[in-house]
Subunit: 203 residues, 2 copies
DNA sequence: TTTGTTAGTGAACATCTGTTGAATAAATCT
DNA sequence: AGATTTATTCAACAGATGTTCACTAACAAA
């Protein structure tokens, strides 16, 4: 069933060991400060072995991320599992499952996002966008032609944005509440939105 | 008017030179492959000088980004400039201005996003989210209590998502069209959305 | 213009990087 | 089981890193 296409035992063992070593080191050290030498010393492997599998730390990290993403996708699909016709429940449940997945890997997400593994470009620019009163943008004459690719990217990043907010807020909200909020956003009709210019343009 | 609080001429000169050197090198080399030595050699400064101002390449890059973001904010605020009451035109115009800003700095955005300056975590996870049929999530009973912080982050990342799609599509769309699409998204009433499960769950 | 301050230089250092080659160990295949 | 393939080791290398030092050159303030 799984794609275990004859991968050498040693490779699996080594990669797992290196992954664990990196995760462990990231608990206590900034990502940038962790050296390849640190990782292999901690995992008790030769430095050359690292370079046989990875070009740099980031590649090792992406390998780790890959597994978490697998679980994310699985989580999303769970409600659909034994259904071949659509029900609202399964759809709503999928939303919940996504946030439950993140919650289950809370430590990991916190680690990835807070460590400067991703030099904060998207964080930086998103934070700036957040300051702008974009929420007030609304209410124009209709026309139902939305580019599906743009819309997909819009939605994907929007949810990622919710997750970022959740993570950086220290997971104070429950997964159920997060899912609820997402559904709320989606049904949010901009007709209701109040129009006023923010007067607080300080800094 | 500007916050030029007596910064040593030499610092400005040096930083600008280093920034220019990095940008130039990024045109032809992968970010990861550019060394500090490369940068200072290209800018004709001593290596120690680099470390007096920056800890690592990423910090230098963030300095560059900062200026672009300044222009982004300025662009957004332009339509509001001489207005103290809200008009739809100024709001719509702000949306246009954002995308015009990105378009004006197309090379820069392409450079930043395509170079692996930001190890592709958000890219990776967002792409995965894009594959999930999240657009179909919709149509639930009403309730108008949306967490403003979550909503802000949702919106900010959503727009960032549009920009990402635009950039990676090679800027084939016009800024006006992008702005139009954004406004379309915002007014998009999910009541219209068709409900069906994707049957293509390959891979 | 002089004085105090600080940015930039050049050199040196230990450490880390990325790569290589020959030897060894552990896996896979028949 | 033995034969073959290949992952891992160890040592060595040139180059890059990150830090420090005393020296000088350029700037700011008076």
């Amino acid at each position: 069933m799984s794609s275990n296409q004859k991968i050498d035992k040693r490779i699996k063992r080594t990669k797992k060991a290196l992954q664990n070593a990196l995760i462990t080191l990231m608990q206590s050290h900034d990502f940038k400060a962790i050296t390849i030498t640190d990782i292999v010393k901690h995992a008790d492997y030769n430095r050359g072995t690292f370079y046989k599998h990875y070009k740099y730390k980031e590649e090792l990290l992406e390998d780790i991320i890959e597994e978490v993403i697998k679980d994310l996708v699985d989580s999303y699909r769970q409600p659909y599992q034994d259904t071949d016709s659509f029900t609202f429940n399964s759809l709503s449940a999928s939303a919940v499952k996504i946030f439950e997945h993140v919650y289950a890997h809370a430590n990991f997400y916190q680690l990835i996002i807070q460590s400067n593994a991703l030099p904060g470009f998207h964080k930086r620019i998103s934070n700036e966008l957040k300051k702008l009163p974009l929420q007030d943008l609304a209410e124009i004459e209709p026309s139902p032609d939305i580019d599906p690719e743009l819309h997909a990217s819009y939605q994907a990043y929007a949810i990622f944005g919710m997750i970022m907010e959740w993570v950086e807020g220290g997971f104070k909200l429950t997964p159920a509440y997060m899912a609820d909020q997402l559904l709320e956003m989606l049904k949010f009709s901009p007709v209701n939105s109040r129009f006023k210019i923010r007067s607080d343009l300080e800094k």
